[in-house]
Symmetry: C2
Subunit: 258 residues, 2 copies
């Protein structure tokens, strides 16, 4: 039996494109073979929807899913947010953990996206933090939902590799109590990233705080942090794009912590 | 007199949203106060369209434009590609220079986007290269048009700060002849970025080659380069997003060249 966009199970899964339904159900959608593979490896796939073609092409993935439902092209199009999901969409259990649990593992590198509302930026920072060896990424305050489809796609699977945390905005005290120095990024920060690297400051376990591109970090977080750090600007640009600045900071830490 | 979307001058300017018309006319559109300010400073504004409100709010910009045309909200909406252009769109002369001219200034840091087709990625790399102190950014081969509206916006004004070059794909020889070592980025590169930094290699004048996120660099460019360099991955991610990888590489050079 092949489901269509009007089959109740498909219509119900489609609702997970909305935050309210994700929050209520504790589930979300992952689309495309890469994300589905990572979700299966993480053991969080509740149901895998696949077209006939995809079921054949990705037989290895199908074999690892407990519940597989074949869908028509139209059914898949209803579930997918991209034009090329390559025939696969999985309903997954949400994977985030409490802050206490993530910090209990004593990560040496943590990224905090505080009130970052752009899902592409947040997902890219999640991917970059994972690449730089971070143990946890904290979505703090009124940040984008980490299970937003665009964020999931921008994370390119990293949502399943690091501890993702959703937390209120006042994260500085618990981060510090977990032995992390807390570095807030700001275009007007008193400390220059390259100078901190020269002085050996970045070798210590570190949590980086990143604010929204439009507003930066909330003053309360800037004030609570151990340092306010700016990425040096060597040319005529006024600033860096948020995800680029995060990449430079996280990799400066990764290099210092080797 | 206030122009509307049907005024021939507005309709003609609107055509610059299309590459063919940009290529034929040698002009492009810049929207919003930041881009317009930079374009005016660069002396390339041919005509500035402004709503009544914007003409009042940005009187300093209006005063510096030789030709100002007031447009209705509907006329501005026709010219703008974003929902919030803040009432300003400028027709500008294209600013790119020949490769020979850019290299004649002996830049110590150059970024090449080779066949990068995503305008957001290309514009972000342009902005990051500017911030890192690069003298030139080369759009090589079948790369996105640097005057694509999304690229212009992602560059956040950097289009007007560095030498932008459009060139065929075979850039390695002229770059090397200008005294630059040519480093090609590749997820499979034999050289690790952090090791090159440790060994002092990055202090030399450098041109970085970045390929498309989907296909990487063309084999001919990888082979022609002096080294193939990978950004180290310390965690579970397979790779970095293109613009994030470029930020890490360009800032590693900037730091080494201080």
């Amino acid at each position: 039996m092949t489901f269509t966009s009007r089959t109740p199970r498909v219509a119900a899964a489609r609702k997970l494109q909305r935050r309210r339904d994700r929050d209520q159900s504790g589930r979300f959608l992952a689309e495309g073979p890469q994300a589905v593979r990572e979700a299966l490896a993480a053991g969080v796939v509740v149901e895998l929807f696949a077209t006939d073609d995809a079921a054949e092409r990705y037989a290895d993935l199908i074999a690892h899913a407990e519940v597989v439902s074949l869908v028509s092209d139209d059914g898949l199009a209803a579930l997918a947010e991209t034009v090329q999901p390559q025939g696969l969409v999985a309903v997954c259990e949400q994977v985030d953990v409490p802050l206490k649990e993530a910090l209990g593992k004593k990560p040496r590198l943590v990224a905090v996206v505080a009130e970052v509302r752009d899902p592409g930026n947040a997902g890219t920072i999640l991917r970059t933090a994972d690449a730089a060896g971070a143990g946890a990424v904290v979505f703090a305050g009124d940040a984008v939902d980490p299970y937003n489809g665009k964020c999931v796609r921008a994370s390119a699977g990293s949502l399943f590799h690091v501890d993702v945390v959703r937390s209120p905005l006042d994260v500085v005290t618990p981060l510090r109590e977990a032995g992390l120095q807390v570095l807030a990024t700001s275009g007007y920060g008193a400390d220059d990233l390259d100078t901190l690297a020269d002085d050996g400051v970045l070798a210590a376990p570190t949590a980086w705080l990143f604010g929204s591109e439009a507003h930066g970090l909330p003053p309360a977080l800037l004030d609570a942090a151990d340092r306010q750090v700016r990425v040096p600007i060597y040319g005529g640009a006024e600033s860096l794009n948020l995800a680029a600045a995060a990449a430079v900071c996280l990799y400066a830490s990764a290099r210092a912590q080797r």
